[in-house]
């Protein structure tokens, strides 16, 4: 009986800890979406360090935010509820895409059991970050096919102060750390304007729309046969990636935290196809050609995961 009580107590403690972690994450998500803030942070990845500034404002129109680099060329991203604009002076280009409404983070189900099979959520305890008292929340993957996270959350406002993206062993791959943060500040319209007009730049626009389809009639079906446990298809559509490039079949898989996209395009229409592994920070990609089609897998998962997924793409129906 005593053993049973101990087991039950341990289980209930874990549930309470998981609930506490989830509450902090929900509060953090709310703060990031609903507060005005203006902060400077450093972004550490691979062997680089970048300083950036982020400005976020919420008003009757909706959310607007601006992210700009403070070192090197003046790269910046502007985003509202409809569009996202990336200004890249390095190659004198501007990319405009469709913005999707921010989802509350994370899309954790009310029942933590379904995600706790793949991740361990922990309320680690108190710390201090950027001069603020913080609560540390950890999301640890249970296998090596996904990354983990560690968040430092301001105890007063629930604002994110620092985040680490980590391997399964807890080693950081990417770090974002605020060195200055003003919460609740008045954000002027000028603060949300780009520093350059983009005149003389090459503009590319991701085509809007895209047909939602389970299996398009006019193209052979494609399936992904190898995925880490817990990844399920969440979106499937036919969409034009860029003018002159034809449609791409786009499948999105997610385990609730990590997301992997699979793009399938006519290889003849791509001028610079991705081949092999590539990446940017913790975002990894793998490109290969299968039966005349360019298959590109992208996701914030380890390199071996995108390579595994890409290698398992084949034609056919799901039940083959």
């Amino acid at each position: 009986m005593r053993c049973l009580l101990i087991v039950l107590l341990a289980a209930s403690t874990q549930v309470v800890a998981g609930d506490s972690a989830r509450q902090w994450l929900d509060d953090m998500s709310g703060a990031l979406q609903n507060l005005n803030y203006d902060g400077t942070f450093v972004y550490l990845h691979d062997d680089h360090m970048e300083a950036m500034r982020i400005i976020h404002r919420v008003d009757e129109v909706g959310q607007r935010e601006r992210l700009l680099s403070l070192s090197g060329s003046a790269r910046e991203v502007l985003r509202d509820d409809r569009t996202v604009t990336c200004i890249l002076p390095d190659n004198k280009s501007v990319m405009v895409g469709q913005s999707r409404p921010s989802q509350p983070f994370p899309q954790l189900p009310k029942d933590l059991d379904s995600i706790s099979r793949y991740y361990l959520l922990e309320d680690v305890g108190d710390d201090r970050m950027t001069g603020f008292p913080a609560r540390v929340i950890a999301i640890t993957p249970r296998d090596r096919y996904r990354y983990g996270y560690r968040f430092w959350v301001d105890k007063d406002s629930a604002m994110l102060l620092k985040s680490d993206l980590t391997t399964v062993d807890g080693k950081p791959i990417e770090q974002v750390m605020f060195t200055r943060l003003s919460i609740g500040a008045d954000i002027s319209e000028d603060d949300l304007q780009p520093s350059m007009s983009g005149d003389g730049y090459e503009w590319s626009r991701q085509m809007d729309g895209g047909k939602q389809a389970r299996s398009p009639d006019s193209s052979p079906g494609w399936v992904v046969r190898r995925l880490p446990d817990g990844f399920n298809l969440t979106h499937y559509q036919h969409r034009p990636m860029r003018k002159g490039r034809g449609d791409a079949q786009h499948m999105v898989f997610s385990d609730g935290l990590a997301t992997v996209s699979v793009y399938i395009e006519d290889a003849d229409k791509i001028r610079d196809p991705l081949s092999g592994l590539s990446g940017m920070g913790a975002m990894n990609a793998y490109g290969t050609v299968i039966e005349g089609y360019q298959v590109t897998v992208v996701g914030e998962v380890p390199p071996a995961t995108v390579e595994m997924v890409a290698g398992s793409v084949s034609r056919g129906a799901q039940d083959d």
Partner: protein, 188 residues
């Protein structure tokens, strides 16, 4: 860079530079990023030689550094010239050291290659997917290829994006230093 400057940096770290030379060197540090960077490397080397480096990045280390940096806000009362000049330079060097330590830590993670690629054990599931079993996965060293940006921008809008609510993926794009390819297809 002159050898005499390098030597002065080393002597500064040993706290053996006289006042006049110190004031001059600190003025140079405040105007010369390369010099500042060299000072931070010397500090790191010195810490390593004296076994002052933590075995791993201690999250509280950032807090201690932050506490040591000059505070933002109202100007402080006048202080001796050498002290006023020292604080900004020390702050820059400390911040750079923090970044260097963190970068070294991150780089060590990337360089681990425990095993060559191996077949992944798998098991069929009822829905037809083959679920990968948990086997050691090597950490590949990857680079950013041209043409990747279009996928990243598109994928970003579907990612769940823990933290920074949609902007963290764009931090990766903004943080990319090397040139991304100007994919001319589809330009308007």
């Amino acid at each position: 860079m002159k050898d005499s400057i390098k030597e002065q940096l080393s002597v500064l770290l040993d706290d053996e530079l006289d006042e006049a030379e110190q004031a001059l060197l600190l003025r140079q540090l405040s105007r010369n990023p390369e010099l500042c960077s060299r000072l931070s490397r010397y500090q790191l080397i010195s810490d390593a030689m004296h076994d002052n480096l933590p075995r791993c990045v201690d999250p509280a280390f950032h807090t201690r550094v932050t506490a040591a940096l000059p505070a933002q806000g109202p100007a402080r009362a006048a202080a001796p010239v050498a002290s006023r000049l020292l604080r900004p330079a020390a702050g820059l060097a400390l911040a750079a050291s923090v970044a260097v330590v963190a970068v070294v830590s991150l780089q060590n993670v990337r360089e681990q290659s425990p095993a060559s690629p191996q077949a992944v054990a798998s098991a069929h599931t009822a829905d037809g997917y083959i679920r990968a079993q948990d086997t050691p996965v090597p950490v590949a060293s990857v680079h950013t290829a041209p043409g990747l940006d279009i996928y990243l921008v598109n994928h970003n809008e579907y990612a769940v994006n823990p933290g920074m609510q949609g902007m963290l993926p764009y931090v990766r794009i903004v943080g990319k230093e090397t040139q991304l390819s100007g994919d001319a297809a589809g330009s308007e």
